[in-house]
Symmetry: C2
Subunit: 143 residues, 2 copies
DNA sequence: GTAACCTCTACAGCGACTGTAGAGGCAAGG
DNA sequence: CCTTGCCTCTACAGTCGCTGTAGAGGTTAC
């Protein structure tokens, strides 16, 4: 049971079957050996790598950063400044997004509580959207 | 000065030139009249509509919701329940994202403070990514 | 044996734009 | 009038990170 099919690798890693193949195409995962019938066979290290990838993706690392991280993970003797920097960059980004989302949250709350459930002509939701001045200034876009 | 070119409409609305044309193609903005030379000419109402679109996009409404909102905005006598519901949906989504990002923030903070700036082999950043159990359970994906 | 399910490749599609190429419009200075 | 330089035009390809599809073949349970 050391070698598992792509479906089981998907179940164990939490990465979808199609996504695993996609990662292979992108070079994030090495092409595994195949069975006689041509099916991919994955070992424990492949699944660990998939979990690493999934966790990093969940944290918001993009695929370029992911490639860097995987490269670093494969060189245990290198200094870890790079990984540290990548994590710090992510932290800055995550905080920026949180701030932007909190501004949106309070604007949406205000819009909703002000809405009298009347006609559209008096709807605070519509009005707020039409008049940007109602909110606390231009908010950062999230993308 | 009632009729302005696309470049000025972009400056006044904060929506890029290419994006304005893109919105026209998607039907979010009506095709404007043209000058003798074939250039688009926008009026004040177009710019207001662009600002409405931009504000709603900034708040995270997708283009389908945006089409609904624009439709509603054009029917002032309709009840505003729909707009209210759209805003409430957005609020739920925004809060979900904030929660997920806060979990990421604390995990990244932990990773960074635990990192000793040593070799990769001892780097908490890499280790955390390899071992999902370190964090407070599976976090929601943001997409 | 056969039904049910899994996996294969190759490629198109998603959302919401962004970027490019190559051509033509337009206002100001000489 | 001509040039310079920016603005705008159309049409279409590319971005990111997948997801979905079609049609074929492998594998497993009964």
């Amino acid at each position: 049971m050391r070698e598992v099919t792509i479906g089981e690798a998907a179940r164990e890693s939490g990465v979808k079957v199609t996504t695993i193949r996609f990662y292979e195409g992108r070079g994030l995962l090495p092409a595994p050996p195949r069975s006689d019938g041509g099916q991919r066979l994955y070992g424990a290290d492949d699944i660990a790598r998939l979990r690493f990838i999934r966790h990093a993706r969940d944290l918001g690392f993009d695929m370029a950063a992911l490639a860097d991280l995987l490269d670093l993970a494969g060189h245990p003797d290198a200094p870890c400044d790079n990984a540290d920097r990548l994590a710090r960059d992510r932290l800055v980004d995550v905080r920026r997004r949180i701030d932007a989302l909190r501004a949106l949250e309070s604007e949406l709350e205000r819009m909703i509580t002000a809405c009298q459930h009347d006609r559209v002509a008096r709807c605070a939701v519509i009005e707020s959207l039409a008049d940007h001045a109602h909110c606390g200034g231009p908010h950062a876009r999230l993308d």
